[in-house]
């Protein structure tokens, strides 16, 4: 009983307390900082693991208290929140390991890791939020805790990117707050609930509910980088590699996508959202974003920028999946939340390795890097193939599930979008792979560093290898219990109520 209340609180507190301790540590205490970081990350994985097991058994974890008159603060673990919490806990550990290696010998590490933990605490809160109010609370906390990470370098470019980031996200937040407050005024405090609330509504409510839906999608779409609200994301690439990895794989863009999932499934209800004609509009926006992001990625010469536009495109797969309105298609969208996270974090880790080890930032400088850094390049190659959707990698599972889901409900045009997008993915990833493996190195590396006999620091090498392996495993065991796909199907069976 009490444990079921305390578990979600503990899961949130591990990173929150870690953040406070990390801020308090003196700048020089590197070893202690690393120990605290890793201990907190491992503890959190354990806590989330226990909750995942419990949720699978049908146990409930919930903590709630009244915060402001009429509004509750609710932390709750259900199948959907565990999907996101599991991803965030796992990738936090790997990104922490990576960041320790990446930031070796650089200043401001105390500040960096403090905000880093705060950022993970926010994602945890977003995952565990049991109503819109609590969700919003952590959604804004995420904005604030990521700003110092984006401007970490303190250069003019970083500060400009930070300013744009904050303008986009805070404006989005204000729009979202307006929508949440309005909805609250209309119908009161709504907890996330399977099947949503609006399956049979008064026709007079249709107008306001439609406007609120649009406002919510706009507010959440800023973080999910839906076109035309994606402008901040490619600029935010000036942040250090672990930050980009986290921003793109778990934290910011996923928070937006996860919020859209919550609103569609558990506030409006999939059925009601479709009947009100809301999903049709959303699917068009998502499809356009997929194509647009991939097309823009083609023209980028900077590796991280190309990956950024790829994120713009890939995150909208999740949104498009929701609009497919059948158990299979929806599961395809949900599972992409995890799959995209693992694949994209691999790619960003690798991009960071090239930059740190060889000083390479541009794609045309990558010629022959496969020979110099085979481990990193293998991981990158797997990630790229995963994005393209080659079997048996995780990305293939997503595209296959979504495609068959689309056909099942007669939305054939979605298959066309998936095919075009895959072709574009191939068009922007294959040239990179060609340069890595088949081109000859013609110029010396711009800024090379050596770490003994390994191709790069072990702290930097292992995380991408592990995530690449996870991506392979997620594809291979997709049908076993506790695989991302099975879990997504569990969510659909339990919570979506089709």
């Amino acid at each position: 009983m009490t444990l079921s209340v305390l578990m979600p609180v503990f899961a949130l507190m591990t990173s929150l307390l870690a953040s406070v301790v990390l801020f308090a540590l003196p700048e020089k205490g590197h070893r202690l900082r690393t120990i605290i970081n890793l201990a907190a990350a491992i503890l959190k994985i354990a806590l989330v693991g226990v909750m995942i097991w419990g949720v699978a058994q049908g146990r409930e974890y919930e903590a709630a208290f009244t915060m402001v008159p009429g509004v509750e603060f609710v932390l709750r673990a259900d199948a959907l929140s565990m999907l996101f919490a599991g991803l965030s806990a796992l990738l936090w550990l790997l990104t922490t390991i990576y960041a320790v290696g990446y930031l070796e010998d650089s200043p401001n590490r105390s500040r960096f890791f403090g905000f880093f933990s705060l950022c993970v605490a926010s994602t945890m809160g977003i995952a565990l939020a049991g109503n819109l109010f609590t969700f919003f609370l952590f959604y804004e906390m995420l904005t604030l805790s990521t700003y110092p990470l984006v401007v970490h370098r303190g250069t003019t470019k970083a500060l400009r990117a930070g300013r744009n980031y904050i303008i986009y996200t805070l404006t989005g937040g204000a729009v979202l707050l307006f929508a949440i407050a309005w909805l609250h005024g209309l119908v009161g405090d709504l907890r996330f609930q399977e099947g949503g609330y609006f399956s049979d509504i008064d026709p007079s409510m249709q107008g306001p509910l439609t406007i609120i839906f649009v406002l919510m999608i706009v507010g959440l779409g800023v973080k999910a980088a839906l076109v035309p609200f994606h402008g901040w994301l490619p600029q935010a690439m000036v942040a250090p590699a672990p930050v980009s990895a986290l921003l793109h794989a778990v934290a910011v863009v996923k928070a937006g996508a996860f919020g859209i999932i919550r609103v569609v499934f558990e506030i409006y209800g999939l059925e009601a959202a479709k009947d009100m004609g809301l999903l049709a509009g959303l699917s068009v926006v998502a499809a356009f974003t997929i194509i647009y992001g991939s097309t823009r990625a083609l023209y980028q010469v900077d590796l991280k920028r190309r990956l950024a536009f790829s994120t713009v495109s890939q995150v909208s797969y999740i949104v498009l999946g929701l609009c497919l309105f059948g158990p299979v298609g929806v599961a395809g969208g949900l599972v992409h939340l995890v799959h995209q996270g693992i694949m994209k974090i691999t790619l960003f880790f690798c991009a960071g390795n090239y930059a740190e080890t060889l000083g390479v930032h541009r794609i045309d400088e990558l010629d022959g890097a496969g020979k110099r850094m085979p481990g990193t390049s293998v991981a990158f190659t797997l990630g790229a193939f995963g994005m393209i959707g080659a079997p048996p990698l995780a990305g293939f599972i997503t595209k296959w599930t979504m495609g068959s889901g689309a056909l099942a409900v007669g939305m054939d045009w979605v298959v066309a979008v998936l095919v075009i997008s895959s072709l574009l993915n191939a068009a922007y990833f294959l040239p990179i792979l060609h340069r890595l493996w088949f081109a000859e190195q013609c110029e010396p590396w711009p800024h090379e560093r050596r770490w003994g006999r390994l191709e790069t620091s072990a702290w930097l090498l292992w995380p991408p290898l592990i995530t690449a392996a996870l991506m392979l495993v997620a594809g291979l065991i997709a049908n076993l219990p506790f695989s991302p796909l099975s879990w997504a199907e569990l969510i659909v069976a339990r919570e979506v109520a089709l």
Binding site: P69, V71, R111, L137, E140, L144, G154, L170, H184
Partner: protein, 488 residues
Amino acid sequence: MTLWLMAGLLFTPLAWAVLTLLLDFSKGRVVTWLGILVQVLVSLGLWAAVASDGGFLYLLGGWQAPLGIELRVDGLAVTFVLLTALVAAACGWHASIYLDPGKPWHRYFWPLFWFLWAGLNAVWLGGDLFNLYVGLELISLAAVGLVALGGQADALRAAIRYLMAALLGSLAYLLGVALIYGQFGTLSLAGVTELINSGDVQSGLTFPLILMLLGLALKTALFPMHGWLPPAHGIAKSPVSALLSALVVKASFYIAARLWLDLGGDLGGYALAQLIGVLGSLAVIWGSWLAFRQAKLKQVVAYSSVAQIGYLFLLFPLTWGVTDAISQQAQQGITLQVVSHALAKAAMFLAAGNLIMSVGSNRVDALAGVSRFLPFSLFSFGLAGVSLMGLPPTGGFAAKWLLLQASLASGQWWWLGVLLAGGLLSAAYVFRVYRASFIEATDTDQFYHPSRSLEVIPMILALMSLGLGLVAEPVLSVMSLPFEGASQ
């Protein structure tokens, strides 16, 4: 018991004011620490007493109004008493380390500080219009003196300007009081309300109400009468600025709010309520914009006060002609805004004082590198900023949420735009400071590091402002307690 506590809150500060007048700075400091301890304990005691037994109305000395002194305490009053105790304790503690004992005129800080505290408590606990006036004057004179303590010619000029505005405001208020007295023959707020409710309201009473509100709005620096505030708050010593922004402007607002809630329903009107709301909105927009444009750090914070005070005036339209539930919601939102702004702004001024002391310049540009070498003070400043922006989970957010709900429920949706735009505008000036601090200017630490206590005090205040949002419910439940009845 409650009466003794209330009397203690009024007379202890007066006694301490006289006592510290006789001592030099260092001795005054020790005596003050003791006094602060007493005041905080008594305030907590009163808060606990009201939380358990509800509010009271006392006629001090057994005299009936108009001659007697009427004291009343309810949830709202006791919340402000406790807030004053917390903020004043923090500012007094900070000042005792921050002020240079070597400057002879600094010894007057302590008596002025105590007179100010006495005046504030008199306003929170006063029940009749004339004693409220006395409290208000005590506050104004003490505050002007504190501003003048800055010492330079600029400080004196700002103090004189402040004095003029304060006197003019008091005059308008007093004139209104005199008209009310002429009409009703009583100065007790409760008495006037009773007479109005009994039915024989006479026309022409709206004028004295407007006159009083006008005077109080001038003292609260409502747009467009805010011109005196930024110079005074910007030039004063940081602990003084903190006291002025956090508490002093709230005193006149408190009286205006009490007047409005007791008399506004009958004497005010829709147009008047909306007009005040519009002026408040303009203050939010204009104040934030000017805060964004300031080159000096403390001026940014001072103009931010103009903007934040603007929100408070939404009380007027949101409580006029609406149901009790909506009015209650609006009152809770405004009170929460007062409390969270007081904590956050005090934290911000104290942190700004530390930062200025460390970098040796008042300019925002000079903050480059602060994020690397002075993270603690910057962090306090930042947390306070989060509350001012109204982002969760701070008290500022809880206040904004309640005001949004009240605006929606009363159908006055136009205030929603003000609330949301105001949040974004405040983000603009707060993030401008963050941005400056993140620039990496030097590789070596050339900053002066203030003592640990100086850094900790603003952090405590900022954390209280942050935590207020999480415990808003219990705080509001005490805040909303009405008077339980009268006793001698």
